[in-house]
């Protein structure tokens, strides 16, 4: 193993090699400041399987590239304090020059190729996940962005804002084929790519980031190559994983804008939730045959869960594989997503209170105003009730969350998942409770539309109930 992770202080044995005359050892240590802030400690966290395989590939590449006799890297994970060694890079080569060069190259590459996160704790007590790599500004940029900087809405300040922006693309497929070139071309500083899939032949008609020779290779890696060709100064971070509950917060927290290019409603709803929790704006889009939907979601604004609180069974709504899709549909919707992100970074208005429906047959665009759940239920209905204004004892309490959802209610209650509530005949005055008050609101709206009376929804969900 040429690359390893260590959760204890690094005790590296020096490498030896009879053919090598030059040995270089680099130690990266935790320093007490970062970008003007005083740092008291930090924590490294890795996706071990990925970090090990990508780290191993990186060291092997350095050996071949510089003709090294030997090389080894050990990276710390876990809690570190000032002065602790975070990483050790050792290189050995017949002559000293290659060993020096390779050592520096490995450190540069390590930052953006190996998925290791750094969480800095500042003297203020605040701790933040930091994605390594710095925004760059080079003389090349001035010429590359000259046409765009001429716009009064952009100018040097706007271009600097773009250069400082970190954008995460979740799902590197058809939508990313539109968003990625437009985002990279606009001059964003850092691009993160999340997708566990390999390129398939059936992707190529719409996922035009990839070439026929890319089939069978990791999408994030090929998309990173595409992005760096367009703009070599760009920092690209690749995460060949599926976004899930366990990694979503870490992935999202390192970026300023999140672009949803996934093809799963469950993943879209997870991203929606995590972006709301962490205060990150999200631009989400979906496609179906000849149609696209798009919306921008600001923290605290109307979100995807306000529109569709209940994740439907995937087969109900049709995927690209089931229903088919014209290649240009995701590409153009992706370009529109990039447009939202770029406008957002520049401080221009975005589609944060509407849903866009775009019909590629007629080129007709329809926008529909969206409301947040707060606005939806702001006293407009007498059946959407506040826990403090009613006598809870006079209702039968029904928890409509899925069996796995927590916390359990402490008051006496019945558990009936939302989907089954439509079939039950509700006898007594019934108060439905879910996690946020969204699903219960929809359920009661639906039941009342069918003429069911005596059914009520609890505003704010479980938390508001347990607070009293």
């Amino acid at each position: 193993m040429k690359f390893s992770l260590s959760d204890a202080p690094i005790a590296a044995e020096h490498i030896t090699h009879n053919a090598a005359g030059g040995f270089v050892v680099f130690e990266g240590k935790v320093r007490n400041h970062a970008e003007g802030r005083s740092v008291v400690g930090l924590e490294y966290e890795a996706f071990p399987e990925m970090a090990l395989s990508q780290g191993e590939a990186l060291v092997q590449e350095a050996i071949e590239r510089f003709g090294l006799s030997e090389a080894r890297v050990i990276h710390r994970v876990g809690q570190l304090t000032i002065g602790d060694t975070a990483v050790v890079v050792q290189t050995a080569s017949p002559h000293r020059r290659e060993a020096f060069e390779a050592c520096e190259w490995i450190m540069d590459q390590l930052k953006w190729r190996v998925p290791i996160w750094k969480r800095e704790t500042y003297s203020s007590g605040v701790a933040e996940w930091v994605v390594p790599g710095e925004a760059v500004s080079s003389p090349v940029d001035d010429e590359m962005f000259a046409r765009q900087m001429r716009l009064p809405e952009v100018g040097p300040e706007g271009q600097a804002a773009l250069a400082g922006a970190r954008v995460l693309l979740v799902g590197v497929g058809g939508l990313a084929a539109g968003s990625l070139p437009s985002l990279v071309g606009s001059g964003i500083g850092t691009l993160g790519l999340v997708d566990a899939d390999l390129v398939e032949l059936s992707n190529l008609h719409r996922q035009t980031l990839f070439a026929a020779s890319d089939v069978g290779r990791l999408k994030v890696e090929r998309a990173a190559v595409f992005a760096r060709r367009l703009r070599p100064e760009l920092t690209v971070q690749t995460f060949p994983v599926r976004l899930a509950g366990g990694n979503a917060e870490q992935l999202v927290s390192g970026y300023d804008w999140i672009v949803d290019g996934t093809d799963s409603l469950n993943t879209k709803l997870l991203l929606d939730r995590v972006c709301q929790q962490l205060g990150r704006p999200l631009v989400t889009a979906s496609v179906h045959q000849f149609e696209g939907q798009l919306m921008t979601i600001r923290p605290g604004g109307p979100c995807l869960a306000d529109l569709f609180p209940e994740p439907p069974p995937e087969h109900c709504v049709g995927t690209c594989a089931q229903s088919g899709v014209l290649g240009v549909v995701p590409s153009l919707m992706g370009v529109l997503q990039a447009n939202e992100v770029i406008k957002g970074i520049l401080g221009l208005p975005v589609l944060d209170d509407k849903l866009l429906l775009f019909d590629f047959r007629t080129l007709e665009a329809t926008t529909i105003r969206r409301k947040s759940s707060g606005e939806l239920s702001s006293g407009s209905s007498t059946w959407d009730v506040d826990a403090t204004s009613i006598n809870l004892e006079s209702f039968e309490l029904v928890d409509i969350r899925e069996p796995h959802e927590t916390p359990e209610l402490t008051r006496p209650h019945r558990k009936v998942p939302m989907a089954e509530c439509y079939e039950v005949e509700w006898q007594r005055p019934t108060l439905f409770v879910c996690a946020s008050g969204r699903r219960s609101y929809r359920l009661v709206a639906d039941l009342r539309a069918r003429g069911v009376r005596g059914v009520f929804s609890l505003q704010g969900g479980v938390e508001c109930l347990e607070r009293d």
């Binding site: 179906h288 045959q289 539309a449």
Partner: protein
């Protein structure tokens, strides 16, 4: 009886087999009407997953159905 226009999107359009149609109905509420459409055309989604908009605003299932309205039926869309 009232006559309304329905515009279908995404999987609803696919299942209905057309984009726009007019219908005459005795339904009182938007929700009732959507349920009759689901049953009649086997739209394959529960009412909770179909959002309805009229004149650029989402409406509630309990809202009254008005003569001459154009209802836009929007299901969740997953593809990317």
């Amino acid at each position: 009886m009232k006559t309304v226009t329905i515009r279908y999107f995404a999987v609803l359009r696919e299942r209905r087999g057309l984009a726009v149609e007019q219908k005459t109905t005795s339904c009182e509420s938007v929700g009732d009407f959507v349920e009759t459409l689901i049953a009649e055309h086997r739209l394959g989604l529960p009412p909770a997953l179909i959002r309805v908009a009229i004149e650029g605003e989402f409406v509630d299932p309990a809202d009254p159905l008005q003569e001459g309205s154009e209802l836009v039926l929007i299901p969740p869309v997953a593809g990317g």
